[in-house]
Point group: C2
Chain length 276, copies 2
């Protein structure tokens, strides 16, 4: 591959994905990117484009940020079709109050996904676990997807759908200890890969998770460009993002706060119907 | 303040904000949080709650992640009313394809906001700059808001509305050099504060920005708890998030990619109507 081709390809790919989402979504020719950059898409190396079908579950009271970090990263994958999938096309309210409109229903979702993604939440995730239609959708698409993925407590829903039995996985730090209830081995890491299961830790881990998947599906240089575009050089103003780094008092507040939720989560996971 | 009160307050506040968004949004009593945690809201120290009116602008092809990081952080402010505001209540498509439903129109938005927030985008932001209704909304609410804020290229829209004249500010690294066109002094930092203007750098800087504002509006311990809840201990799998850390080739690709956009942005900013 010529260096010029490579460079033109990345520019065109990113320009298409980022300045012309409609084009990228439909997988059509990125004419607007071409017009904008003057680069010819036909020079793009084959390895820079894909036709990934990516289905991102949404359900009432999901945590929007769990999904939006990965969605930004996935949307940068030139050629990929990134869709929000829900029980119906009705708008879905997240746990912080943002309302999103799904792109398709469970029935409309392709049977074979390249990536199935499940975001977390708190009470909403337990309701999703109890909902047959949602749990069955996750189980069925998860059985066929090339990558079965989640961020935060989304791994509890993957687990309830029988997809983490015998796998190493992670979850929000508060709920990681629940993973054995669904047959998974908890791992204390920001992103955990075991065969085709990729799980991220709590909420903001979705950015590290998403960027890691971009690198896996394209390559390092592509992912570096996406990281630079996202200006992803985080500088948290405080150092309290893990149970170890947080002041003990703050950590205790948080575990106290979730005591009731954890009890409900255990009940929901233990009561889940077992699939044959 | 008793330590127990303090702790109960934070637990109740976070539980209300995060497990009962509808309650938090309407500013009503957080009965569900109370039921969940067993903590009495009446014990919450006054300093832990607020009645902030937060208006977050959305416009066609805004960058969803620019907004969703700060929205997560703002939604954790107990008592705050966090709303997405747009020209109309019609669903708005972001530049990565996510569709959100605004909570209110420009006309319905409170005249005096505690926080006015403007997300970035690329072509969409230039269209917003050219749109009289959007630019005037930003100018009018910005003139009265306690905090006038943006992430990414949102600062170009703040500037086009005349709100950054004589202020230090930041923007996405690619567009930072445009800030002098609107009378602002560009600063190379993730979050820039100058009096009541708070601007964040590109896309993911919204998390650092949002957490810094939580600390400013509540206090350190509150913000530490929110950071722990968000598990915000980032570990990017690559080190390419700034023009300095990115490989020169990747940086060049990106500046090449945005050459056309930068030209259009200069035209849009120079052509903006001056407000009297």
């Amino acid at each position: 591959m010529q260096r010029r081709d490579f460079q033109a390809g990345l520019i065109a790919a990113l320009a298409a994905a980022l300045s012309s989402p409609a084009t990228a979504q439909t997988g059509g020719k990125a004419t607007s990117a071409h017009e904008e950059t003057g680069h010819d898409m036909s020079q793009m190396p084959a390895s820079w484009t894909g036709k990934e079908q990516i289905g991102m579950l949404v359900y009432p009271e999901f945590t929007a940020l769990d999904l939006m970090g990965p969605q930004y990263m996935f949307a940068s994958l030139m050629g990929a079709q990134v869709r929000l999938v829900a029980r119906s096309r009705d708008p879905v309210r997240s746990d912080t109050g943002v309302v999103v409109v799904p792109d398709m229903t469970f029935d409309e979702c392709p049977k074979v996904l390249d990536i199935l993604f499940v975001p977390g939440g708190s009470v909403g995730t337990l309701n999703a676990i109890r909902d047959d239609a949602t749990r069955n959708f996750v189980a069925e698409r998860g059985a066929q997807a090339k990558l079965v993925t989640s961020v935060c407590t989304g791994s509890l829903l993957l687990g309830a759908a029988g997809l983490l039995e015998g796998y190493r996985a992670t979850s929000h730090w508060v709920t990681r200890e629940l993973l054995p209830l669904v047959g998974a081995t908890p791992v204390d890491a920001r992103v955990v890969r075991d065969r085709n299961r990729i799980t991220g830790a709590g909420v903001t881990a979705g950015l590290d998770f998403g960027l890691a998947i971009v690198e896996q599906l394209r390559d390092r240089e592509y992912a570096q460009a996406v990281q630079l575009l996202a200006e992803y050089a985080p500088k948290p103003p405080l150092n309290s993002g893990t149970p170890r780094s947080a002041p003990p008092k703050v950590r205790r507040m948080m575990t106290d706060m979730f005591a009731g939720f954890m009890q409900k989560a255990r009940v929901a996971l233990e009561a889940r119907p077992q699939r044959k």
